[in-house]
């Protein structure tokens, strides 16, 4: 990776983190888009799986600190998702928007499954409703937002040549 591509990746990462803490609460949707996860996915595809896992751990701890009761649940989910994203980058980050959308969708859904399983706050019907209704909706919103970002910020989001 060149210095320019590293700077662009960091800029993209910061923009997404900012969007997560500004646009998401402003919209206030029941099934919100997860810009933090998009930031993780788009960063993880540029680094090794180990770095992706560590990045996920850091982002997870940061996001969990706003919900102390679930501290660590998000970190577990993001660690695993960061590792998997980095590991699967060659498969998914071809120049195909539909494939990328599927990548974002699956990333968010897997994260939610891990998060709510580790958090152990919900159970029974509520858990099923969350994982089969709200999480897919949120994952779809995240995928749409990710695809739009890819279209708008394509020059910044060019993946590194490996």
């Amino acid at each position: 990776m060149t210095l320019g591509s590293i700077a662009r990746a960091i800029a993209t990462f910061l923009i997404l983190v900012l969007l997560h803490y500004t646009l998401r609460p402003l919209l206030g949707w029941r099934a919100p888009m997860d810009f933090l996860l998009l930031a993780l996915l788009l960063s993880a595809i540029r680094v090794r799986p180990a770095v992706g896992a560590l990045l996920g751990l850091a982002l997870g701890i940061i996001s969990d600190s706003l919900t102390p009761d679930a501290l660590g649940a998000g970190a577990v989910g993001m660690t695993i998702v960061g590792y998997l994203a980095s590991w699967l980058k060659a498969v998914f980050f071809a120049d195909n928007l539909a494939l990328n959308a599927f990548f974002f969708f699956m990333g968010k859904w897997i994260f939610d499954v891990i998060y709510f399983s580790v958090e152990q706050r919900m159970g029974g019907v509520e858990m099923i409703q969350q994982l089969l209704l709200w999480s897919p909706l949120s994952a779809a919103a995240t995928a749409v937002a990710g695809v739009l970002l890819l279209l708008i910020m394509r020059p910044l989001l060019e993946p590194a040549k490996v």
């Binding site: 500004t22 090794r48 706003l66 102390p68 501290l71 970190a75 577990v76 590792y83």
Partner: protein, 390 residues
Amino acid sequence: MARAVRSTNSRVDLTVLAAATLLALVARGLPQNLRDPIASSMRRSLLAPLVMLQERAEASRRSLLLDAERTAIRDSVALRAMTVGAIENENDRLRELIGLGARLRWGFIPAEAIHGRGVRDVTTMTLTAGSNAGVRRLSPVVSPEGVVGMVSNVDPTMSEAMIWTHPDFRVSAMSEDGSAFGIVQAHAASATTGYLMELRGIPFRSQLKPGSLVVSSGLGGVWPRGIPIGTVLSEISTSEGWARTYLVKPSVSPADIGAVMILRTDRVTRGFENVWMAAAAAEAAAQRIVVAGDSAARAAALAEAAARRAALDTTRRDTTAGGQIPGGLPPELLPDTLSRAPATAQPFDSAAAAARRDAARRAAARRDSIRRDSVARDSAAPPRSPTRGF
């Protein structure tokens, strides 16, 4: 060699993944008293700007939602305010209708008028009462203001009425004092001048002044005597050379017809004992009482002012008498008002007196005009002798 490097890298990646996952699980398993300080310290340091951004975003969202709610409330209040006038009008009309019902006492059927087409071009209307309620064909339809129309078709539950604007509508009419008789019908040029009536067939020897009330005469058998039809606006020239024709402003505007009363045949034959006239007389009497009350209050105020002026004059004379004492009265013996009143009080006093004179002159003029009106009304009224009409 490359395979060995790749294998080593994979092992490192897996080891890091395992370590990171373990760390996260440890964080998850921390007791509450350790979790909170960690989260709190992160919120205060690393996450402080992001937390601030999130707070502002949520505050913006709340204000947006509140603004939408306020707009909705404002709109609904404005909508209600728009309907208040109509409701007040309807309320007034219903009160008048109840008053008319109390005066009629019996023999009427209340009904709602349903306008079929536009308000401005209506000549018929549907009434929400039919033969089941006692409505018959040619029953008069009235409102507290006067003549509305006549029932033309009757169904068991509904009926159709011809409003006075209909070209075929006629009612035998007379002036309030009974000096002139004629036939009232809709004015032909109503489409451009608004809804007006014509009083036709008035003999040349009878002349009606603008503002004269026209009521039903009771001739013809359909309409009873004494129901207001309208007031004379002016005389109009027609091709008929043997009678006068007057333009009449109707008592009931077609646009205002809502709740009405249908008079039953037996009630029509019994007469109305000046039901509408009594109401008009009561209203006039109430207005006279208000005017008289104003005059009495004004007279009392003038008398009070005169008494105050007389008291001041007396005090001033006493002061002048005190001035005959060499050196005058000592200041401590002078009345407070006079001791404080400087020489400049005189212009104010004269100005006040001028204002009082002006007010008294206006009040006298108003009393005179009221008296003139009463005299004019009395002189215009027919002589109240038992031989009237013979």
